[in-house]
Symmetry: C2
Subunit: 314 residues, 2 copies
């Protein structure tokens, strides 16, 4: 089952169920995705009972499936990326025995086709292609073994980043504020069964194809997460209850063979250049640049639909 949210002029939009071919839709029996997640066990069957799709799907009128969330926690669990970023940012390699995670701005997730206002072109504008999950309510202390059942929907995320600000904020130990403006989401939130065998060990084993200004930039697999999403939930819930509608991200998708498959963010490519040649050559994004992200299954299907966002002057 795939869900999306239509712009109806309200902040949370109007939940719709998307047809299997991704071209039609029907109003959902609850108004918002937040409401659905708060009552998932009761609502899921009603959503699945929607099997006729009278309306053409209007891609330009879709918001993020969850246009705002009460909590957004982003992991960083692709080790090939983490090792490289330590070098890029000039940090000592830091290898905790738990998944890296930061608390992000949750009050806005940009629409899949949004023009995204960025404060300043000089700040090192970058995208980060990620996978994510939406949970129902998770009690404090939930174990990884129990956490998997709280994964209700999967999403695809673009975590906008301002790299010139990221290093100094990290050095403070307080994490990121200015370096992490709101993220975007691809149009469809999907139940795990939509991925079939490509959802395994609570990891999305599908490739995230990234294009920057129309040119392919990366096509890395989401599978090699050092921690599965069930473990990210357990980490987050160790000392807090997670409210329904909590969004948890994987961090930028990255593979060991990034020289062959490419990267899901510019910073990683710059890191590779730095390691290989002593200098980063690829520039960051400029106003007017676009990034397109589409995750695809081995059979070619793109369960989350297409995210394509443009950087604009505020």
């Amino acid at each position: 089952m795939r869900l999306a949210t239509l712009d109806d002029g309200t902040r949370d939009g109007r939940l719709i169920v998307v047809s299997p071919d991704g071209k039609h839709c029907a109003p959902a029996p609850v108004k918002t995705l937040q409401e659905a997640l708060e009552n998932w066990t009761a609502v899921e069957a009603k959503l699945r009972a929607v099997t006729t799709f009278p309306d053409p799907l209007p891609p330009a009128k879709l918001l993020a499936p969850l246009p705002r969330a009460w909590q957004w926690l982003d992991g960083s669990v692709y080790l090939s990326h983490g090792r490289l970023m330590d070098k890029v940012l000039g940090h000592e390699p830091f290898k905790p025995d738990w998944p890296l995670m930061y608390q992000g701005q949750s009050d806005t997730f940009y629409a899949p086709l949004a023009s995204v206002p960025v404060a300043d072109e000089a700040l090192g504008i970058d995208f980060e292609g990620e996978f994510g999950i939406l949970t129902d309510a998770v009690p404090m202390g939930t174990s990884a073994a129990e956490a998997g059942k709280h994964i209700r929907l999967l999403v695809q995320i673009n975590d906008w980043s301002l790299r010139r600000l990221a290093g100094p904020e990290m050095k403070s130990g307080f994490g990121w504020i200015q370096a992490k403006p709101p993220c975007g989401m691809a149009p469809f939130a999907v139940t795990p069964d939509e991925l079939g065998a490509a959802w395994r060990n609570f990891r999305p084993a599908l490739n995230l194809r990234v294009h920057w200004n129309g040119k392919q930039f990366g096509d890395a697999s989401g599978e090699p997460m050092a921690y599965g999403f069930h473990e990210l939930i357990a980490h987050a819930a160790r000392t807090r209850t997670l409210v329904a509608g909590t969004v948890i991200g994987s961090g930028t998708v990255s593979n060991d063979n990034f020289r062959e498959v490419g990267s899901s963010c510019i910073a990683e490519r710059r890191g590779i250049e730095l390691v290989d040649t002593g200098a980063a050559k690829t520039e960051f994004m400029k106003y007017g640049d676009t990034v397109r992200m589409e995750a695809h299954l081995p059979d070619g299907r793109a369960p989350f639909g297409v995210l394509e966002q443009k950087v604009v002057r505020p």
Copy 2:
């Protein structure tokens, strides 16, 4: 004007206006504080027009004035505290030319008289007495000079902290997740005029009296913030829009003469002990412990009311 939120069984509660003597209340003309902040210029006059208070105020039925927020950003701008914590946590002193700030969990603010479930007594359970503000919507790029007018209400906050987890999370550079479960709020959100001359340079010049298990622990002034709240807003809004209802905190209140006035968190006292005697002697909180926080004006009035929370086993 002082506002509070009554527990009516919903997550956002029912907004009430509090009488000048703090003993009575009246229903507000909008249902929630979030709704009021989203329409403040239209709603403020209606709230101020409430001048009869038919109902006795029931302290035990009050939620946090804003029981959940779309964004919670906590500063750390009392330098006497920051310098000490660098030593306690074994960090290199870090002196950025901007205010330290982290993104915190915003989906829950505990009620002023809540019993607060904490995951594990061994994690170094600590309180942090703070001041905070609630903003209306703040456009990206708002300057400090323009930011002050977005401060609509002032609040008093208890930022629960788990100190055994704080150092390792800081070292990751990603900021805090497990070390920072939800905060609590004192019962009343107040307009800045309630503080009279004690609201100056966008700083709350009143003392925060902290009791731990009935014994006075600190009575430090909120005034010596290295950055005023207008500057904290400008810092936060540099690369993002702040939605109405954003909460921004000062960080734990601390004064240079903390050996005389005491501290607003246990970590600071332990830091002083470490510096003075080579070892921290004061233990962290145990299950059953209480912390009471009440900020008072020179004339003795306590504009935010009393926060008194108990640590309990989950």
